[in-house]
Amino acid sequence: MHAYPRWKLWLILIVFAVSVMGALPNFMNVPTWWPSMLSKKMNLGLDLKGGIHLVLDVEVDKAVAHSVAEDVDSVRRSLREKRIAYSSLENDGRTITAVIRNAGDTAAAAKLLSDSMHDFTMQQAGNKLVFTLKDSQAKDIKKFAVEQAIEVVRNRIDALGTTEPVIAKQGDHRILVQIPGYENTARAKSLIGRTAELEFKLVDEKGDLDKALAGDVPPDDEIVYGDPEKRGDKVYRQPYLVKKRTELSGNEVSDARVSIDSRYNEYAVTLKFNNRGAERFDRLTSQHVGDRFAIILEGVVKSAPVIRERISGGSAQITGNFTPQEARDLAIVLRAGALPAPVNIVEERSIGPSLGQDSINKGTSSTIYGFIAVVVFMLVYYRLFGLVADIALIFNLVLIVAAMSMIGATLSLPGIAGIVLTVGMAVDANVLIFERIREELRNGRTPLAAVDAGFDRAFVTIVDSNVTTLIAAVVLFQFGSGPVKGFAVTLTIGLLASMFTAITVTRAIIALSLGRRKRIERLSI
């Protein structure tokens, strides 16, 4: 004890200096020469900062079904090209079943299709061909759908112009979205949730709409409705009989801007097509002069203008009684692209700014009062030794703040609770040591020997008892989510820091203060 190793002392001083420097950016602006590693601030969690927290679920099965439906189209086309008649062609989202009309054509059809349908396995039963999507392929489609959805959501959130939004994959098919400091949950949710699926389809001018409404829809057609509008006191939705085939889609849109429709002086969105889209639009309008095409947004016909002449500029306009905000949001989602599959909001935890600030204030004051109470108690109960424990406790808090800032951990409200709890538990190590010293003194040891024995014997107990709490913290980190994770992090950092400060730091202070004196009669413990 008399010769406290120099290197240990230096180590403690260095750790202390580094943690003070690391903690400082949280309380003041540091000069420019400050080491960048130590210049980071603690991140505040959304529950303290306020903001929107959403978890989205991507309906990946729909993405698979969508892709299978496209393959049905290509099966139909190839069979027609080779003039092979089929009596039915169906799909259930994962498998495609084709029944060939003439049994004699089955072999030819099987050969034709098995060459082109690489992603499927084929089974033949009589004149029935069943194609099942391969699992590996389905997995790829799902993975791609989630990645694409993340991209699309990111573009849409970026358009809100908030700072540092978080968009990240969570698990297999979920997306975590955090928008700090943003309050308008309704707008954020509707912006994120829109599929933004935009389709241009030709209106079937020869088809009989009334017959179709009665149930007799031509095989290549479908019925789509317009926006609900009031006629008298009834709500009416205009039906349209359109071709199933999508002539142009949102994928061909390169830009979308809010504009004013000059005829009615109302808000509209003007689309610009990319090269491929412009070409298609050019061809479509040149071939179908006099026909109507329907602009279908998310399954609703927004307008169905008549093609008066060939349009080669490559742009189109969507109208539909938009408010300025609606037009702006529509432009955002069209610009950001369509979601590959619908996304649903499955979890929301949004905090208004006032509650966040309240939580910070209450968390801070409970930490301060708890801290003061413990400090005073230790001082009264253990006198000078208590003072040493208190110094270690302050060091402990500085170390926690510095460590959390340096690793970029997020401080949540339960995280603050973790720190408060650490304050109570950190002195435990010192209590163990001091009680042991008192005991050794009672057993008749000299003060110096008692101090030595106290530190040595208590050490094992301290490690053992802290490991169990660490186990609980690690489990929490594994299973917890969001703020609870924050609690696990601060608790872990706090326990590790307290083991260092309560054992090493108190020992150093005691050793240094006792070591200078020749003989010690009494300890202030």
């Binding site: 499955v346 709890l421 169990t468 929490l476």
Partner: protein, 313 residues
Amino acid sequence: MELIRSDTHIDFLGRRKIAMGISGTLVLASILLLIFKGLNFGIDFTGGTLVETRFAQAPSIADVREALTPKGYGNAVIQQYGNPKEIMIRVQNRDSKASSKISNTVLDALNAKFSNKVEMRRVEYVGPQVGKELTQAGIMAVLFAMIAIFGYVMFRFELRYAVGADLALVHDTSIVLGAFAITGMEFNLTVVAAVLTVIGYSLNDTIVVFDRIREMNAANRKKKNPEDEPTTANNAINQTLSRTLITSFTVLIVLLSLFFLGGEVIHGFAFALLVGVVVGTYSSIYIASPIMLMMKGHTKADEDAVREMEARP
């Protein structure tokens, strides 16, 4: 200063039958409460929507309900939260896809009735699927923690110590849950976190006692007239009593500060820890060691292994 006199000698183990009786009754009562009254599960587990709002002037619950009834949420749980201006509204899930928008409908309806003077404080929505997943994760976490701790105590001590420690944990957990059942306080994810912390903390206390028993057992072997183990254990508990109580006291100080000053959001969390720390302190004295002693002879332990264990640092 000393709160516990150094010559304290309480016959804890002699009173183990009374203690076991009290504990047994408490645990049984907790289990019965959990079965018949049940926990007031928060939306983390049931799924649903929670909207916390602040009004410019304190509204009456009836007015708030009146605003929500036309939207079909007349049966919502509406209550004051913290102070009279703050109102918490809880609505159950319906159709899973539209449920995520309930909070916006509720806020719009309130703003319409109270002329835009309603501030959004907090919105939580948990879909049915997520609720199930969180429940599962919570149960898994508690089980996992108990297994991991059992393993650690067995590795550091021996099997009967691990049994004593784990039964003490089951005891503490049941009583904390019982306290939530009887008070009807909301049981949510942060409370699960608190329960796990109680597990870690209570064990911390138990281990300190076990450590001392182990140390004294080792010393005992060298004596000519060794004490029997119950006496050793009782002495160990007495010797560590001062530390046990002081640490629990400092932790209780900070928890009280958290409970009274930490705000509504953290209330349940602090409450669980308060109950847990009190029960955990008691169980490490009265439950863990007696069970460990009762298990002697019931678990296999060869002499060499015990000696090796006692020699461990």
